[in-house]
C-alpha cells in the first residue's frame, strides 16, 4: 500500500516536472526524442500546399529530435490504408494523414490500431474524431469566409446593394461548405442587399472558373466583385476578366489560400485579397500534436485546441496588397 502511494507520488512529481520542462521549453521543443511519425498524403500537381504542410511538419519534428517520414498513396485509398496498417510494425508511434476520403476516417483509425492519428487538410466528420487520439489539424474554414466578408463589407461600406459573383469549390467539400457558409452569413448580417448574380461550383479549378465567369460576362450580367473559394479559381476569374478586357482595378477579385500565384496577383493588382492558410504552421502544429500523443501525452494544453478538443485550429491570416509580399 505504502509502496503504491509512494509510486503514485513519484509519478505525479515526475509528470509535474515533465510538464514544467515541456512548458518551459515552449513550442520550440517538446522533447520528441526518437519519436517517428508517418505522414501519408497524396501530392497534388500544381498545388504545393500539402508539400508545404509536410515540410513544416518535418522542420518542427527535427527541431525537437523527432522524425516525420512522408509516404505517398498517390490517390489510392487502399494504399493509404496499407501504409497506415504497417506503420506500427515499422516503428512509427503516430500517424499524420491527409485522408484520400474523409468519410473513410473510421477505416483509417481501425488500420492504425492503437496509434494516434492527426488528420490534416481534409476534415473527417467530428463524430469520427476522439479526444487525444484522432485529431483534425487545420485552419477553420469558416474563418476564411469571415475574413473575405469583412474585406468586402469594408470595401463596399458605402454601397447598400452589392452584386456578387461567387465561385465555389467542389460541391460538398469541407472548404467549400465552410468558406461559403460564413461568407454568406456575414454578408447577410450586414443588412446590405446582396445579390448573388452568379453562384456556382467551379470545383477549385482555374479553367472552370474562367469559363463560368466568361459565360456570366457573355450573358451581360453586371456584378461588383468576384469572390472565390480559392486562389486557383480567382486566377480563372482574372483570366476571364482579362479575356473580356475588364479592368481588374475596377473588378475586385478575392481568393483563399495565399498561394504564390495569389500573392503575386495581389502584388500585380490583379487580385485584392486572399487568406493565408498557413500550411507550414499547420504541419508544425500537427507534428507537435503527433509527437505529444505518440508519447501518450495530452494536447489539452494546446492553445489552438478547439472547445470540443477534437480540432486544432491554426489561424488564417488576411493577405492584401499591404502584406502580400511577405507570403511569397
Amino acid at each position: 500500500m505504502r509502496k503504491k502511494i509512494l509510486s503514485i507520488i513519484l509519478l505525479v512529481t515526475l509528470s509535474i516536472s515533465g510538464c514544467g520542462l515541456s512548458s518551459s521549453k515552449g513550442s520550440s521543443s517538446t522533447g520528441g526524442n526518437g519519436v517517428k511519425i508517418l505522414f501519408t498524403y497524396s501530392q497534388e500537381e500544381g498545388n504545393a500546399f500539402r508539400d508545404t504542410l509536410a515540410e513544416g511538419a518535418q522542420e518542427y519534428a527535427s527541431s525537437v529530435g523527432a522524425v516525420v517520414d512522408c509516404v505517398y498513396p498517390e490517390n489510392s485509398l487502399e494504399t493509404q490504408i496499407e501504409q497506415i496498417k504497417t506503420a506500427k510494425s515499422q516503428g512509427y508511434s503516430a500517424i499524420m494523414c491527409i485522408p484520400e476520403d474523409a468519410s473513410t476516417a473510421r477505416q483509417l483509425e481501425a488500420a492504425a490500431g492503437d496509434l494516434p492519428i492527426i488528420f490534416c487538410n481534409n476534415a473527417p466528420d467530428a463524430s469520427t474524431l476522439k479526444e487525444d487520439k484522432y485529431i483534425y489539424c487545420a485552419s477553420d474554414e469558416g474563418v476564411a469566409g469571415k475574413l473575405q466578408a469583412e474585406f468586402i463589407l469594408n470595401m463596399f461600406s458605402s454601397k447598400d446593394e452589392i452584386n456578387v459573383v461567387l465561385l465555389k469549390g467542389l460541391d460538398g467539400h469541407a472548404a467549400t461548405v465552410g468558406r461559403t457558409k460564413t461568407l454568406k452569413e456575414d454578408l447577410k448580417a450586414s443588412g446590405k442587399k446582396i445579390n448573388y448574380v452568379f453562384e456556382d461550383f467551379a470545383d477549385f479549378d482555374t479553367n472552370t472558373a474562367r469559363e463560368d465567369v466568361n459565360f456570366v460576362i457573355s450573358k451581360g450580367k453586371k456584378f461588383d466583385l468576384i469572390v472565390c473559394n480559392n486562389d486557383a479559381m480567382a486566377r480563372g476569374a482574372i483570366q476571364a476578366c482579362q479575356d473580356n478586357n475588364i479592368n481588374l482595378k475596377d473588378m475586385p477579385i478575392l481568393g483563399v489560400d495565399a498561394t504564390q500565384d495569389g500573392c503575386q496577383a495581389i502584388l500585380d493588382g490583379e487580385m485584392v485579397f486572399t487568406v493565408y492558410q498557413p500550411a507550414a504552421p499547420q504541419g508544425a502544429e500537427a507534428a507537435k500534436a503527433a509527437i505529444e500523443l505518440a508519447k501518450g501525452g495530452t494536447i489539452s494544453n494546446f492553445e489552438s485546441l478547439s472547445s470540443d478538443k477534437l480540432h486544432l485550429w491554426v489561424p488564417f491570416e488576411s493577405v492584401d496588397s499591404s502584406n502580400a509580399k511577405n507570403y511569397l
Binding site: D171, G172, V177, E185, K188, Y196, V197, F198, E199, D200, F201, D212, F215, K219
Partner: protein, 664 residues
C-alpha cells in the same frame, strides 16, 4: 434457563450482524440501483440523442442522395441538351420524352427563354404566366449547374421547388432549364425515413424560414415564423436563426438539427422527451423491483448464511452458559476448521481443566474445613487455658501483693516490736526498781493498816456514847411539844374574845370606838401568838425528825464502822497477800527482762529478713503483673485465633459450598 434469558436479553450476534449488514446491503443496493439508474438514464438519454442524431443524419443522407440523384439525372439531361445542340424541334422531343419519365418530376423538363417563352414537353402541366419574373427563372439565371431553389406554389396550386440552371449552348439571352419536384414528394421522403420511433422530422429553409416538408401538410410551404405562438416552432426558429444547431431540448422535445449539404435547408428532427423518459421510467421501475427483490433475496441469503455460520457460536454460547452455571459435565462438539473450531477446542480444554481444578479445590476445601475445625477447637482450648492462666495469675498476683504487704507489715511490726522490746527492757528494769520500792511500801502499808484497825475500835465506842445522848434529846423535845400545844389553845380563845369585843364595840357606836381599837389590838396579838405557836411546833417537829435521823445514822455508823473494821482487817490480810504477790511479780519481771532481751534480738533479725522479703515480693509482683498482661494478651490472641479459625471454618464451608455448586 437463566442463561437463555440472559442471551435473549442481550440479543444475539446474528441479530447484531443482521442489524449492521442488512441496512448496509439495503443502502448499497439502493445506491447501486440509484447509480445504475442515473447512469442508465443518462446513457439512455444519450442513446436516444445519438439515435435521433443518427436518424436525422440518415434522413439527411437520404435526402441528399435523393436530391443528388435527381440533380445528377437533371445534369445528364442538361448535358445532353447542351451537347446535342439541336434546334427547337429536337429540344422539344427531348422535353417530351422527359414528361412522365420519372414520377418525381412528372412534368419533365421545361425551358424558359430570355424572350419569355416557356418550352415544355407534351403532356406537361407546367405553365408560367411570366417566365422572366418567375422565381425559378431568376434563380436559374444565376448558375449553370442545376440546383434547387426556393419552394413556391406553382400555377396548379402545388408547392414545388425547381431545380434550375442556365443552358450553356444558347448564344443569345439566358435560357433556364428546370424541373419541378413537389414538396409533398420531399415530405414523403423525409417522413418515411424517420428511423426513430415516435420521432418526427421537418425541413426548413434556413435563409427564409420556409417549411419545405412537414408531416402536417398544411404547414408545408408556410413560414416557420407564422407559428410563433407554438413554443416549439418558435424555439426551432430561434435556434436556426442563431445557427445554433446542437441537439437540444425545445419545449419538451429533444430536437436535433442537420444541414442538408448543397442546400440551405435544415432538417429538424424531434422526439418528445417523455417518450425517452418513459423508457427511463420503465427502467427505473424494473431497477426498483430488482433492487427490492435483490435486497430481500440478499437479506434471506445473509440471514441463512449468518445463521449457518453463527450456529456453532450459539452452541458454544450454550456451552459457556452451562459452564457459567457451574456445570462442567457437558460435551463440547468440535466441528469444521475455523476460528470457531479453535474456540470450541479451547472451551473443551478449558472445561476439562476446570473440571480437574474444581475437583482439587473441592478436596482442598474439605481438608481446609477439617483443619479449620481442628484449629478452632485448639484455639478454643488455648483460649480457655490462657483465660484460666490469666485468672490464676491474677490470684497469684493478688496473693503476692497481699504477701508483700503482709511482709511489709511484719517488717514494720518487727521493727516496732524491736523498739517496744527495747523500751520494755528499759521499762522492765525501772519496774524492777519500782517493784522493790512497792514491796517496801506494801510492807509499810501493812503496818499502817494495823494501826487503822486499832483506831477503828475507838471510833466504835465514841459512836455508842453519841447514840445515848441523842436519845435524851428526843425525850426533851416531846415535853416542849406539849407546852406549845397549850399556848396555842389559849391564843385561840383570846382571838375569839377580841372578835366578840369588836362586834360589841361596833354596837356601842361612838362610844365604843376606843374599845374597838383595844379589841382589834388584842385580836392582833392573839393572831401573832397562834402564828408563833405554829412556827415552834414546826421547829420542834424538825428537831424531832433530825434526832430520829441522827439516831438512825448513828446506828448506821455503828454498822458501817463495824463493817469497816472488818474490811480493814481484810485489807490487812490482802496487803500481806499483795506483798507476797509483788514479791513474786518482781521475780517474774526480772525473768521477763531477761527474755525480752532475747526477743529483741530475734525481732531485729525478723525485720531485716522481712524487708528483704518485701523487696523480693515487689519483684515477684511486677513480674507476675507482666505475666498477667502477657496472659491477657495471650487470651486476646487466642480469642482472635479462635475467631479467625471460626472464620476460616466458615470460609472453608463456604468454599466447599461454592465448589459444590459446580457440577463435575
Amino acid at each position: 434457563m437463566a442463561g437463555v434469558e440472559k442471551t435473549k436479553r442481550r440479543g444475539s450476534i446474528k441479530f447484531n450482524l443482521l442489524v449492521i449488514i442488512i441496512p448496509i446491503v439495503a443502502f448499497m443496493m439502493i445506491a447501486l440501483v440509484a447509480i445504475s439508474y442515473h447512469i442508465s438514464s443518462k446513457s439512455l438519454r444519450k442513446e436516444a440523442e445519438e439515435l435521433l442524431k443518427t436518424s436525422i443524419r440518415s434522413q439527411k443522407n437520404d435526402i441528399e442522395a435523393w436530391m443528388k440523384d435527381n440533380l445528377d439525372s437533371f445534369k445528364i439531361v442538361k448535358n445532353t441538351i447542351e451537347s446535342t445542340n439541336t434546334d427547337e424541334e429536337g429540344l422539344k422531343s427531348i422535353l417530351d420524352g422527359s414528361v412522365g419519365f420519372n414520377s418525381t418530376f412528372a412534368d419533365g423538363f421545361y425551358i424558359g427563354t430570355s424572350d419569355g417563352r416557356l418550352i415544355t414537353g407534351a403532356g406537361s402541366t407546367k405553365s408560367e404566366s411570366n417566365v422572366l419574373t418567375s422565381n425559378w427563372y431568376q434563380e436559374g439565371s444565376t448558375r449553370i449547374n442545376m440546383a434547387y431553389g426556393e419552394p413556391y406554389e406553382n400555377s396548379n396550386g402545388q408547392k414545388v421547388i425547381s431545380a434550375t440552371g442556365m443552358l450553356r449552348n444558347v448564344d443569345e439571352g439566358i435560357s433556364v432549364i428546370g424541373a419541378d419536384v413537389t414538396l409533398d414528394r420531399i415530405s414523403v421522403i423525409v417522413n418515411s425515413n424517420v428511423e426513430m420511433e415516435n420521432a418526427e422530422t421537418f425541413l426548413v429553409q434556413s435563409t427564409t424560414g420556409t417549411i419545405i416538408s412537414n408531416r402536417d401538410s398544411t404547414k408545408v410551404g408556410t413560414n416557420i415564423s407564422d407559428y410563433s405562438s407554438d413554443k416549439f416552432y418558435k424555439g426551432v426558429a430561434e435556434a436556426i436563426s442563431a445557427s445554433d444547431l446542437y441537439t437540444k431540448e425545445i419545449n419538451g422535445n429533444m430536437t436535433a438539427f442537420c444541414e442538408v449539404n448543397g442546400t440551405d435547408w435544415i432538417l429538424v428532427s424531434f422526439v418528445p422527451s417523455n417518450i425517452i423518459l418513459r423508457d427511463v421510467k420503465t427502467l427505473g421501475t424494473i431497477l426498483a423491483i430488482l433492487a427490492i427483490a435483490g435486497t430481500l433475496l440478499l437479506i434471506v441469503l445473509i440471514e441463512r448464511t449468518v445463521h449457518f455460520l453463527i450456529k456453532p457460536v450459539n452452541t458454544l454460547s450454550g456451552v459457556i452458559n452451562t459452564m457459567t452455571d457451574g456445570d462442567f459435565t457437558m460435551e463440547v462438539e468440535v466441528k469444521g476448521n475455523n476460528e470457531i473450531t479453535s474456540m470450541s477446542e479451547g472451551i473443551r480444554d478449558f472445561a476439562g481443566t476446570m473440571h480437574d481444578l474444581i475437583s482439587k479445590i473441592g478436596n482442598i476445601a474439605v481438608n481446609l474445613n477439617n483443619q479449620a475445625d481442628e484449629s478452632n477447637v485448639v484455639s478454643r482450648e488455648m483460649y480457655d487455658a490462657s483465660k484460666l492462666q490469666e485468672t490464676s495469675m491474677q490470684g497469684l498476683n493478688e496473693t503476692v501483693d497481699g504477701l508483700a504487704s503482709s511482709i511489709n507489715e511484719i517488717a514494720n511490726s518487727a521493727t516496732t516490736l524491736a523498739m517496744v522490746v527495747t523500751d520494755t527492757r528499759t521499762n522492765g528494769e525501772s519496774v524492777s526498781e519500782q517493784m522493790s520500792e512497792t514491796v517496801t511500801v506494801a510492807n509499810k502499808g501493812q503496818k499502817d493498816m494495823e494501826k487503822v484497825s486499832d483506831a477503828m475500835g475507838n471510833i466504835i465506842s465514841s459512836i455508842n456514847e453519841l447514840q445515848t445522848a441523842i436519845n435524851d434529846v428526843g425525850v426533851a423535845s416531846n415535853e416542849i411539844t406539849e407546852i406549845v400545844k397549850l399556848i396555842g389553845s389559849i391564843a385561840e380563845e383570846t382571838n375569839l374574845l377580841s372578835l366578840n369585843a369588836s362586834i360589841e364595840a361596833a354596837r356601842a357606836g361612838e362610844t365604843g370606838k376606843g374599845f374597838a381599837v383595844v379589841a382589834n389590838e388584842i385580836g392582833k396579838l392573839a393572831q401573832t401568838s397562834t402564828n408563833s405557836v405554829q412556827q415552834i411546833t414546826e421547829l420542834v417537829y424538825g428537831i424531832d425528825n433530825l434526832v430520829k435521823d441522827a439516831e438512825k445514822k448513828a446506828e448506821e455508823s455503828v454498822k458501817s464502822i463495824d463493817e469497816s473494821s472488818e474490811y480493814i482487817n481484810n485489807a490487812v490480810d490482802t496487803f500481806s497477800l499483795i506483798y507476797q504477790n509483788i514479791q513474786q511479780t518482781n521475780e517474774m519481771v526480772a525473768d521477763m527482762i531477761e527474755k525480752v532481751g532475747e526477743v529483741d534480738a530475734v525481732a531485729t533479725d525478723v525485720a531485716a529478713i522481712s524487708e528483704e522479703q518485701a523487696a523480693s515480693a515487689d519483684i515477684i509482683l511486677s513480674t507476675s503483673e507482666e505475666i498477667v498482661k502477657q496472659s491477657a494478651k495471650l487470651t486476646n490472641n487466642s480469642e482472635k485465633v479462635a475467631k479467625e479459625s471460626e472464620m476460616l471454618a466458615s470460609t472453608s464451608v463456604e468454599l466447599d459450598r461454592q465448589v459444590h455448586q459446580f457440577k463435575i
